[in-house]
């Protein structure tokens, strides 16, 4: 396990130059609506960042989950391009669940190339519908499958080579499979959203795409997808924490040089109180996320829907939104007109309201599970 100081130094020493390069044109990309260049993910793979938490025998760095979560937080704190860790971690999530399948062919063809940055991957699950209303079909035809339908709201769609996706089989069960962007019948269409505008969001249309049997992942696709999303919520909580720390530091730095009524604005009690509220939001979020990460790293976790993980994602998102509005209140026109980062942060927070399960649905699930006495996992498991 690394301390905060260790992780700050680790990220700076190993990936500082890469993150500085990615950050350099971040504001331009935001304003121009450009997607994070694919080459950055290749560089992240080559430098060992993507594989940092994967086993060493498949080319990873062997870091534990707690350290990986801290690295994610630090990445989000120091990188001015919020979409970079968001998209990169979509790929590490796909590689993780593929590795967990225990199939050497998947490790060789997908996990290792993703870890090396040679392939990019993301999740394509949503259809703007509940999972039991999924319309995409995966039909067996001899030794192959045909995949037809469409997937919406895909983060990193336009830069992904591989999509972990799901369709219903003849019996109506949800089944997972892998689609490649160069498969015949696959069309990826760019989509625009409010937040993470540089993440290459998109929609994927699937027209009788032939899927070899070895790219089908088993029968219980619904649980498979929920395992991915459960872990995703934990990573999102880590990333939000880093983003919040960066925004607070930026806000305080600005306020220190701001003069109103003939004196430093930071001497005004209402400004001090605002900074106090923002600091409380950041530190309570750090504490919640850190304790959740520690518990999960110890293996005490529900691998499909963990109440604590979902609560951490929910809490972090709400605190981030609070932080954003506080920044606008105390910075005024500077945040609205002068520095685009505050608006970008606010938009990204809104995206997080929907990401990996809406806040509303998370509340419903947590309420139902806690009512049933299932608020805390009692058995050790792997997330």
């Amino acid at each position: 396990m690394h301390t905060d100081v260790d992780v700050t130094e680790l990220v700076e020493q190993r990936w500082g130059a890469l993150l500085a390069r990615i950050s350099r044109a971040a504001d331009h990309r935001q304003l121009a609506g450009e997607v994070v260049p694919r080459e950055f993910f290749a560089m992240a793979g080559a430098s060992g960042l993507i594989g940092y938490a994967f086993p060493q025998d498949i080319g990873g760095g062997g870091a534990d989950l707690r350290t990986w979560g801290a690295v994610m937080e630090e990445l989000a704190r120091v990188c001015d391009e919020p979409a970079f860790p968001i998209v990169m971690s979509m790929g590490t999530g796909v590689a993780s669940v593929l590795q967990a399948c225990g199939r050497s062919d998947l490790v060789e063809h997908y996990v290792k190339p993703i870890v090396r940055g040679e392939r990019t991957a993301t999740l394509a699950f949503s259809e703007d519908a509940d999972p039991f209303s999924m319309r995409t079909e995966l039909r067996r035809t001899g030794d192959r499958y045909l995949l037809s339908g469409a997937k919406d709201f895909i983060t990193g769609a336009t830069t992904a080579d591989v999509f972990l996706t799901y369709g219903r089989d003849e019996a109506g069960r949800v089944v997972g499979c892998l689609v490649q962007s160069d498969d015949d019948g696959v069309e990826v269409l760019p989509a625009s959203g409010l937040g993470f505008r540089t993440s290459g969001m998109g929609r994927m249309v699937l027209r009788d795409v032939q899927i070899p049997a070895n790219r089908v992942l088993g029968t219980d696709g619904l649980t498979h997808a929920q395992r991915y999303l459960n872990h995703r919520r934990l990573i999102l909580a880590c990333l939000v924490t880093g983003m919040m720390r960066a925004l607070l530091a930026r806000c305080v730095t600005r306020l220190r040089t701001t003069v109103r009524h003939g004196g430093p604005v930071t001497e005004l009690p209402n400004v001090q109180a605002a900074i106090g509220r923002m600091h409380i939001a950041v530190e309570t979020t750090r504490a919640v996320v850190s304790s959740t990460l520690a518990r999960v790293a110890d293996g005490v976790v529900d691998p499909v829907f963990d109440v604590g993980i979902s609560a951490a994602k929910h809490f972090a998102t709400e605190q981030a939104l609070f932080l954003a509005t506080q920044a606008f209140r105390v910075l005024g026109g500077h945040a609205y007109y002068g520095d685009p980062r505050y608006g970008i942060f606010l938009q990204d927070c809104v995206a997080l309201l929907c990401a990996a399960g809406t806040q509303e649905l998370i509340e419903v699930n947590i309420g139902a599970l806690v009512t049933a006495g299932l608020g805390e996992p009692t058995e050790k498991s792997e997330v």
Binding site: L222, T223, R233, A368
Partner: protein, 88 residues
């Protein structure tokens, strides 16, 4: 015994919150449930007949962490099917 459904699963049982079944053990109760509501089959069970992990069975409020077919049931028992899924 009584099966109790909420939320996402209601549409697959004709929006009946409860359904009564006469069974002496869990395996028999689940078999009869499948027969009464065939549309539940791909929702609750995988191809091998195992309960899909996103669903949890609570027998009289207690989680059946590894639902055993031989679990005995009485007329007054109640099994709730709880489903927690989110996102995409």
């Amino acid at each position: 015994m009584t099966f109790r459904f909420t939320g996402l699963l209601l549409r697959f049982v004709g929006y009946q919150r409860t359904t009564e079944i006469t069974a002496t053990n869990l395996a028999d109760a689940l078999r009869q449930l499948r027969e009464r509501f065939p549309q539940l089959r791909p929702v609750l069970w995988d191809e091998s007949g195992s309960l899909i992990r996103v669903h949890r069975l609570l027998l009289n409020g207690e989680l059946l962490s590894k639902p055993d077919d031989d679990v005995p049931l009485r007329d007054t028992d109640q099994i709730e099917v709880l489903t927690a899924i989110a996102g995409g």
